[in-house]
């Protein structure tokens, strides 16, 4: 059984070239990092002046224009995804500085669609 001989009794040791510094509770450890750790998403605070697509989909309607002032709760666009027409509303009142998409455009998730100057 080559599986048993090869994999079951191998001495592993450490490959120094793969080691990184890694801090836990003020102490720096030498260790390898795994793929999942390296690919994790960093945290960014939510910027409420930007309205992003909450799901990938198609913008079928835009109700507002650049430099227009809107009140809280005003409809901004319809983002159609998974056969649902989702109306997206303004969460705060403010002036729309920039609109980064057109009607009929397919957008990915988390794309900034509206940039606000909040009141």
């Amino acid at each position: 059984m080559n599986y048993s001989e090869e994999r079951i009794r191998k001495f592993n040791g450490i490959d120094e070239s793969k080691l990184h510094e890694f801090v836990v509770e003020f102490r720096k450890y030498k260790t390898e990092l795994n793929r999942k750790f390296l690919e994790r998403e960093g945290w960014e605070p939510i910027d409420v002046s930007k309205v992003r697509s909450f799901i990938p989909g198609t913008i079928t309607k835009i109700y507002v224009e650049e430099m227009q002032h809107v009140e809280e709760g005003a409809p901004l666009m319809i983002l159609e995804a998974m056969k649902m027409k989702n109306t997206v509303f303004a969460e705060r009142a403010g002036t729309i500085l920039k609109i980064n998409a057109k009607e009929g455009e397919r957008v990915p998730k988390s794309m900034v669609i509206f940039e606000f100057d909040l009141d």
């Binding site: 059984m1 009794r9 836990v24 720096k28 795994n34 999942k36 998974m82």
Partner: protein, 514 residues
């Protein structure tokens, strides 16, 4: 005596059905690097031990022209045989017959052999290679899946259940493997997902290949859905046989006593763990240095590698190891490693396999992603699994055991039967740097040379608390031992735990933080 005419008819029927989907379909299967369902069974079981049942089963679909079609064996081969001389139940879906699609009779063949394995208390091996539900059979097909999932759950913790993914296994079908104990995958052949690349592309606009979405590597490294990864089907079968050599045949079967072979000389236990607490080593070398013949069968080798789980033998009998791995992410506990170890602890407990825990961890992985992924709930699984386990539980603290990590890793407080520590062990509420920064915050902040004072205070803390003797003085550690004594100490601890019996409060079942 049967007439020769009737015997010839039987032979003819058998031959026809055993050809599955026919020569053309078989050629396609082989071209994909896959064996046929029957070849797989024969390769896995002991020579000549396979007995097939329900060869003559026919489907009962009456719509969409299905009544005109004959599907040999209804796309699945079922039977019994032996592995290593011991009985097993097995089924293998036959992709050459209607894509191995699951109709009601196909499902009934599977549930019949499942019932048999549970009744007769023997392992069930399921080889999955199927396009999914047989759409023409509608809700009858769904009923079939449901019946399988239900039986997977009933048999869980009673008989070992092994799933081998040797083809596509998509949609609802993946839930049967997910409910079983061990999932085996093969590079480029196994594919598992709930919704496939086409749907994801249509609905979400995300473009991903089947391999990147749910290939063998993804499930071995990223999701943890697979427990064993192989390069080929032949290697996969070797792995299954190896696993079966370690695990008991049911929850009422005794662990098998094998010949005791001493560990190999190249695994010198004195030379593996560096004294510098910041430096890594491979904890699997420690496991091999105390295990019979230095053999260790690792489970989920490539997923959450910051904790190591798997089987070895001490004194000829199987034990389950759970060990922090300083080589990867310094051995921290996190969402995935908690999940991985907790489930393994429960496996060992269900099948009466003693657990040996090797401790060396700096604490929990810091990060917003961890907190938001629910490290509280996942970390709690480890506490739950250890506390609930009634098998012999033995701990060896190799180096660091700080804070919550110390408690979680089978401490005395969770009812470990024996806790040993090496002389280099540091058992403390947190690492010296962190502790000194908090306790001596004022002294450090007001000092003329804060760095110098900090270093003095850290050294002071190390001197006083970073050792095994404070915990030993309280009886939390039973004995401080030299590394070279470890194997003998473990042998003895396992020997004297042989008749362990403890009571737990009467309950239907607990509510683990799933």
């Amino acid at each position: 005596m049967a007439s020769s005419k009737k015997v010839r008819e039987l032979q003819k029927r058998r031959e026809e059905i055993q050809l599955g989907g026919g020569e053309k379909a078989i050629q396609k299967q082989v071209a994909m690097g896959k064996m046929t369902a029957r070849e797989r069974i024969i390769e896995l079981l002991d020579n000549g031990s396979f007995n097939e049942y329900d060869l003559f089963v026919e489907h009962d679909a009456r719509d969409f022209g299905m009544e005109q079609k004959k599907l040999h064996g209804d796309g699945v081969v079922t039977g019994t045989g032996t592995v290593g001389g011991k009985p097993v139940c097995i089924f293998a879906q036959d992709f050459t017959v209607a894509g191995g699609s699951l109709g009601s009779m196909h499902a009934r063949k599977i549930t019949k052999i499942m019932d048999h394995s549970l009744k007769m208390r023997m392992p069930l091996i399921g080889i999955n290679d199927s396009g999914g539900a047989r759409i023409q059979e509608g809700v009858n097909s769904l009923a079939g899946y449901g019946e399988i999932f239900f039986r997977n759950t009933l048999a869980s913790g009673v008989i070992p259940q092994i799933s081998v993914i040797l083809g596509p296994c998509a949609g609802g079908a993946v839930y049967s493997p997910a409910l079983t104990d061990f999932v085996f995958v093969v590079d480029n052949i196994s594919k598992m997902f709930i919704t496939g690349p086409e749907v994801i592309k249509t609905v979400l606009g995300e473009d991903i290949s089947m391999e990147e979405l749910g290939g063998a590597r993804v499930h071995s490294e990223m999701t943890g859905n697979a427990h064993f990864f192989a390069e080929s089907e032949a290697e996969c079968f070797e792995q299954i046989k190896m696993l079966l050599s370690y695990i008991p045949w049911s929850n009422s079967a005794e662990r098998v006593q094998k010949e005791v072979v001493e560990p190999r000389k190249e695994f010198n236990i004195n030379r593996i763990v560096p004294a510098d607490k910041r430096m890594p080593y491979d904890v699997r070398d420690v496991i091999r240095s105390v295990s019979d013949d230095s053999a260790f069968l690792e489970v989920q080798e490539n997923w959450a590698a910051n904790i190591v789980i798997g089987f070895g033998r001490i004194n000829g009998k199987t034990v389950g190891y759970v060990a922090n791995q300083p080589k990867v992410l310094a051995g921290v506990l996190d969402v995935d490693s908690s999940d991985k170890s907790a489930r393994f602890i429960r496996y060992c407990d269900a099948f009466n396999i003693p657990i040996v825990t090797l401790v060396d961890l700096p604490g929990y992985l810091p990060g917003v992603d961890q907190e938001h992924a629910g490290v509280i709930r996942h970390g709690a699984k480890v506490l739950y699994a250890y506390s609930e386990a009634t098998v012999p539980k033995i701990t060896v603290i190799l180096r660091k055991a700080y804070g919550g990590g110390y408690i979680a890793m089978n401490s005395r407080h969770l009812r470990a039967d024996f806790v040993f520590a090496w002389p280099d062990a540091e058992v403390a509420v947190m690492g010296p740097e962190g502790a000194a920064n908090i306790i001596f915050r004022k002294e450090i902040a007001t000092a003329e040379d804060p760095d110098k004072v900090r270093k003095e205070k850290v050294d002071e803390y190390i001197e006083k608390f970073a050792n095994p003797y404070v915990a030993a003085a309280k009886g939390f550690i039973d004995s401080v031992i030299e590394p070279k004594e470890t194997r003998n100490v473990l042998k003895h601890a396992l020997e004297v735990s042989g008749n362990k019996e403890i009571g737990m409060p009467k309950k239907k079942h607990g509510i683990p933080p799933f």
